[in-house]
């Protein structure tokens, strides 16, 4: 009997724990409209790897979808569901499949690691449109017709930041805290390095990929190592950089953010952030879906189409000449007068 009782207790705890975990990653759609709806709402579901309040990758898609919902007329016009913290690809795949079978019009798989699952799931739900990123492959060569792809030319904003960083650095040493050398993180860091070198070839850019998207403590010590190496300007990408920004703040080192506006974390030292506005892409995708096309197109946000915006910290006293330099660089990338070659693999 004793044994049975303890088993029941353990089972009870596990169920409770799973319930709480489930609550934290809510897959609950926003309230269905209570009054008679004019038409069926457009239904969007998002699956993302980290938390929607990470001030980085997942935050960027959350903000975009929330904005789209407002633009299209609020909760009665667009129903939105989020499943975040889907670090485990198998869990994400299950969520993607669930949303598709529940009849969502657009299921967004916000993580390049979800591609392998998506190419298997999408053909089973030909009435549902899928979008995934950051990636460039819509799988049309594999006969898939209902997948959109989106990516960020984050090297462009990175280049602008690099130019500014090199102009502002007095020590001539810039530190970068990166996650894993893939995707838009790699593009951003490569662009940043090129921009810094273009502005001042004598500047040293120390790049440290810590091989984790989530280890905040390690990111913090990586930033400290950059400071020890003489950096007076730093940047970094992915959600674990919140740890690095704290160290930058403590040491009076300037910080350039990316993916979301990171000014609120350290108003004294954040110079500017490259912010992703995925709504630029989502508007097109939704219009296409409403026109009957469910996939097959690859999009990229960049400085020119307004999907990437350099947001300056209004409280940071940026010298006028550096601001002008930044604006000129942005303009130059848009009109093609500034070109650069990204390193190959």
């Amino acid at each position: 009997m004793k044994k049975n009782r303890s088993l029941i207790v353990v089972a009870g705890i596990l169920v409770l724990a799973l319930l709480v975990v489930g609550c934290a990653a809510p897959a609950t759609p926003t309230e269905a409209p209570t009054e008679e709806p004019m038409a069926e709402p457009f239904r969007i579901a998002v699956v993302s790897p980290s938390a929607i309040n990470d001030l980085a990758f997942s935050q960027s898609i959350y903000d975009a979808v929330t904005l789209i919902q407002e633009e299209m007329g609020g909760e009665s016009a667009v129903e939105v569901a989020f499943s975040d913290n889907m670090f485990v690809v198998e869990d994400a795949a299950a969520a993607i499949r669930d949303y598709a079978s529940e009849g969502y019009d657009l299921v967004i798989a916000h993580g390049s690691q979800y591609g392998g699952s998506l190419v298997e799931i999408a053909p089973e739900f030909t009435d549902t449109a899928f979008a995934w990123g950051t990636a460039g492959d819509t799988f049309t060569d594999q006969g898939v017709t209902n997948v959109y792809a989106y990516e960020a030319a984050s090297d462009q904003g990175g280049y602008v930041m690099g130019v500014m960083g090199a102009a502002l650095s007095e020590s001539g040493v810039i530190g970068v805290v990166g996650p894993i050398e893939v995707g838009d993180a790699k593009l951003y860091v490569d662009g940043f390095t090129l921009g810094a070198a273009a502005q001042n070839p004598d500047v040293t850019v120390n790049v440290n990929y810590i091989n984790s998207f989530s280890d905040v403590a390690l990111a913090s010590e990586a930033a400290q190592a950059q400071v020890n190496a003489g950096a007076d300007v730093m940047t970094g990408t992915a959600q674990m950089v919140v740890g690095a920004i704290g160290v930058a703040d403590e040491n009076g080192v300037l910080w350039f953010g990316t993916q979301a506006n990171q000014t609120s974390l350290a108003p004294d030292i954040v110079v500017a952030s490259q912010v992703y506005h995925w709504e630029v892409v989502l508007r097109d995708i939704i219009a296409n879906i409403q026109g009957g096309t469910l996939g097959g197109e690859a999009y990229a946000i960049n400085l020119e189409n307004g999907g990437e915006v350099i947001e300056f910290n209004p409280d940071f006293a940026l010298p006028d000449d550096v601001k002008t330099l930044a604006d000129d660089t942005i303009q130059g990338i848009i009109d093609g007068s500034i070109t650069y070659e990204l390193p190959t693999e």
């Binding site: 440290n208 010590e221 974390l265």
Partner: protein
Amino acid sequence: MLSELLTTDVLIGIVASGIRLATSYLYAAIGETFGQLSGVLNLGVDGIMLMGAFGAYYAVIKTDSLFLGVLTAVGIGLIMGLAMAYVSVTLQAEQGISGIGFYLFGLGMSDLLFRKLVGTPLPASTFPRLHIPLLSDMPILGEVFFRHSLMVYLAFLLVPISSYVINRTTFGLKVRAVGQNPEAGDTLGINVNRIRYTTVILGSVLAAVGGASLSIALLGIFQQNLTNGQGFIAVALVYFGAWRPAGVMGGALLYGLVAALVLAGNTTGIIPRSGADIAAMMPALLTILALVIATRQVHQPAALSKPYKRGE
């Protein structure tokens, strides 16, 4: 190239960084040592650390009092420890499984509370680095050892204190007796369950404070899954240290120092970019290796993870 890594400044930076990184592991692992010595394996450490980290962070952003932050973590540790002890001692549940349950609870609950109560992450104030007259000003030694925050010193102070408690007090003797042979202890009049409740609760409090040492000392921020699995490494460090506080400290320092060494190597370019992923595995790899070699000679507490049932 290597000479770049071996400059005094860089070496100082590495050791100081290793000490900071070891701190949160040290709190959690010393706490876990008490529990395991008395025969209770608590695998929920990481969940308790997360709850402590969030509680301390939330208290600090609301009140700006670091003291209240630590106090909140202590309170959370008490409650979660009491619950853990109830499940594993009174209800005699399978400890490996119930610990995982506590971990998942802490992981989810800390994120849920963070989202509902805070939303957009705000920076929290942190324990300042102390400046100790004379000591902090010493060249090299001062920079390595005497410019840390109070939370770092407390963690290392725990090592001699817990060593003393375990080896030189009646309480410590009872803890070890209960972990080796609870039947014999019971015969001698030791209240087995009371001892185990005490150690599990103490361990939980230290785990929660370890979490706080991340959120309101090292980082000044909270994020979903802030500990990133540190609690599980802490459990491994207890085995590594062979249930001796000094050994546990050695393990935590080894782990922290190797991690700091890899970071410095990456930063200065001594570790090439192509080797970064292999280098990132080094702390865990070395710890496992040392664990294999070190634990050949020692034996775990005989009654570890075995619930005690009187009269069976």
